[in-house]
Symmetry: C2
Subunit: 408 residues, 2 copies
């Protein structure tokens, strides 16, 4: 049976009837967007703020073990309290200023990763400097490791005793929309920190600061095993370096429409289930506009030549760090012949009629690795679920994006 497909997030301020929304239609919000949290990003270096938020009775903690979140019944994120994580993170990991934390850097000390996710302003609770209010959200990495092994194993055992478990695989695609967005933020940041323990510019170990949103290359390391505490100069310490900040990879994904507007090009990878197709996609490269990346990827993977490309909507995708930029492009009349010989990425690419796609969107969608729905008949086209932007792009096309009203 396919898992339930959760609702998509509501676009922000749906109640506001603006000139832009009258002209372009309602904003399209994709799964993993729509977080209810205010990130108050400018407060992240402020350890007085973080220290108070962390220890406030309303503070909520999401736990991750090897990047998998703690869930209940497979489709609900579990929030725990400060007292639950205190044995792992310590009394107050923000008791020193950020400046002093960098000064006292010791690469031999294991610090479990903590990420400040934001304030849920719908919940009364914590107040900072009068202006910033709400329930603080944190993510904590409780993977049993180094000095926290024992405490983490004890906590995990306790949680499992309560019938809770760390998710396996892509269960998170069944989370309610707002939880999915909070989870996506946490997973993206935990993965980025775990993936980048060393400095790309000088090769020395780095330290997480800004509550999980920055990694710095400290000028000094007091670990006993280090022969000289003072490190050589590092390029990331002079001026601002993008290496210090989380990486997000812009990725283009596109519904390709034929010149007459009557067909959609879909492709499939070899490892996908039989009859399963989706829109083409690929990473945007350095010094490309989105439209150029769409045209290049489509030509490289399918041989099709596109003319006009229109950006439709975007989707954060935390596996591990993508921004999916959804577009719709139209083939030029002389460029509709499929040729798979350039890049060997796809097993097949072919044109489908709007009716075939419309019917498959109705009865043939599911998550990868799940069964299709009850109305699906073997041999029919299978497509990704509505939590995937690919599904939204195809839906836009069959609903008149190319030929209908001016809505985006």
């Amino acid at each position: 049976m396919p898992l339930p497909q959760p609702n998509l997030p509501e676009p922000a301020h749906p109640d506001v009837d603006s000139m832009l929304s009258r002209k372009f239609g309602k904003e399209i919000a994709n799964y993993f967007s729509g977080s209810p949290l205010n990130r108050v990003s400018f407060l992240r270096p402020d350890h007085a703020f973080l220290s108070q938020a962390l220890r406030h009775p309303s503070a909520s903690f999401l736990l991750f073990n090897k990047l998998e979140p703690l869930v209940k019944s497979g489709t609900e994120l579990v929030q725990v309290k400060y007292t639950d994580v205190q044995p792992i993170i310590g009394e107050d990991p923000f008791s020193k200023t950020e400046e002093d934390t960098i000064k006292d850097y010791n690469s031999a000390t294991y610090l479990p990763q903590i990420v400040f996710l934001g304030l849920d302003e719908r919940v009364e609770g914590f107040v900072y400097k009068d202006h910033y209010k709400g329930q603080p959200y944190f993510a904590v990495d409780v993977t049993p490791k180094a000095s926290v092994t024992e405490a983490a194993e004890a906590l995990i055992k306790n949680l499992e005793g309560q019938g809770l478990a760390f998710s396996k695989g892509r269960m998170h695609l069944s989370l309610p929309a707002q939880e999915a967005a909070i989870y996506a933020e946490a997973r993206h940041l935990l993965d980025w920190n775990a993936r980048n323990p060393y400095c790309g510019a000088c090769g020395y170990p780095t330290l997480s600061i800004n509550a999980g949103f920055k990694r710095t290359c400290p000028p000094r390391d007091i670990a006993p095993s280090v022969s000289t505490p003072d490190r050589p100069p590092c390029a990331t310490r002079t001026g601002i370096s993008n290496l210090s900040f989380p990486r997000t990879d812009p990725t283009v994904i596109m519904a390709v429409v034929s010149a007459d507007g009557q067909r959609v090009l879909l492709g499939r990878q070899k490892r996908w289930p039989e009859y399963w197709y989706s829109t083409l996609a690929g990473f945007l490269e350095p010094a490309e506009s989105v439209e150029e990346a769409v045209r290049r990827e489509v030509w490289e993977e399918s041989g099709i030549h596109l003319g006009r490309v229109v950006i439709h909507s975007t989707q954060p995708w935390p596996y591990p760090a993508n921004l999916m930029i959804g577009a719709i492009g139209q083939a030029i009349p002389t460029g509709e012949t499929v040729h798979l010989g350039h890049d060997a990425e796809l097993e097949d690419a072919k044109w489908f009629t709007l009716d075939e796609v419309r019917e498959a969107l109705r009865i043939g969608t599911s998550g990868l690795g799940e069964d299709a729905g009850p109305e699906y008949k073997p041999g029919g086209l299978r497509l990704p679920p509505k939590t995937a932007i690919a599904n939204q792009l195809m839906s836009a096309v069959v609903n008149g994006f190319v030929s209908g009203s001016p809505n985006l």
Copy 2:
């Protein structure tokens, strides 16, 4: 005097009258996009291809010294030939397969960075496997350094004798559109390679492969100074890691329109010249849609609350690695009060009438650090030139983006 403002690139296939272009209008192409080269990205690991392309008589080489390109008269990229760069790059840097190059990795050997930029298919010349034709373009780092110091200094002296020079500062903003796009690709890749000599996952030195588009962490290093050639396992070697590929940072930049559509919000940084304002901008964060990033940045920097946000166009920006995603957002009626106290990034942010912005776009634009045009009167609003997407966003607003025809 302000430098001449070059023309913007023509959108691809301007001759194609598609359903999408009839509905949404002509595609907007920003400066640094519009490259005439076919990147044939799938051929980059093929050293037989690279070796032939590099040594073909039609091959064109752009030279960079500390990331600054070789130019003529300040506004023209200079192309040199294989024989010019051969003393620096050697007879054939692609004589071995990529696999063997990785196997024989020696971190003590300095290899000047080479980037394959693409084929200019408008020029007859090189042909590979019948399908792939055109003039091959490469970028080469000729910074005098390590084993190439002498050869590089000799080449530079020779070029300077011909009246050529490596550009200083942002002269490249005066290049013709297609040259600017080729330059942007080269600069982004050279910078990324230079900025990432070490592996973020394990801290060991990495090797440039895929003709400059990938860095790999070799499993073995035969440098004499290395005590054990075999290295410990590295996470980037199992599966595909984004760390191995060029980084591009998605950045949002937005024209903010008042609820009544009659005013535009602009901000200024302290270090800018007097009277100079621009649109707000900031990095997209992990797990944000573009629209969410726009609303967050605008609130953090100016206190303004936005409703509907529409993506307008995108611009590659190679300083060092940005994808500028241009948007237009409309304030909600109750959220128009400027408050600079959240994030301290701006010195000022305020509302301007459409007429003020229209007039400044006509007489008050120039590059940063240049004088305004001859019609500009001191005290009047100054704005960025049309090579900046900020200028295009403001132009779209004064030309009826919010209230006019359905064109994007």
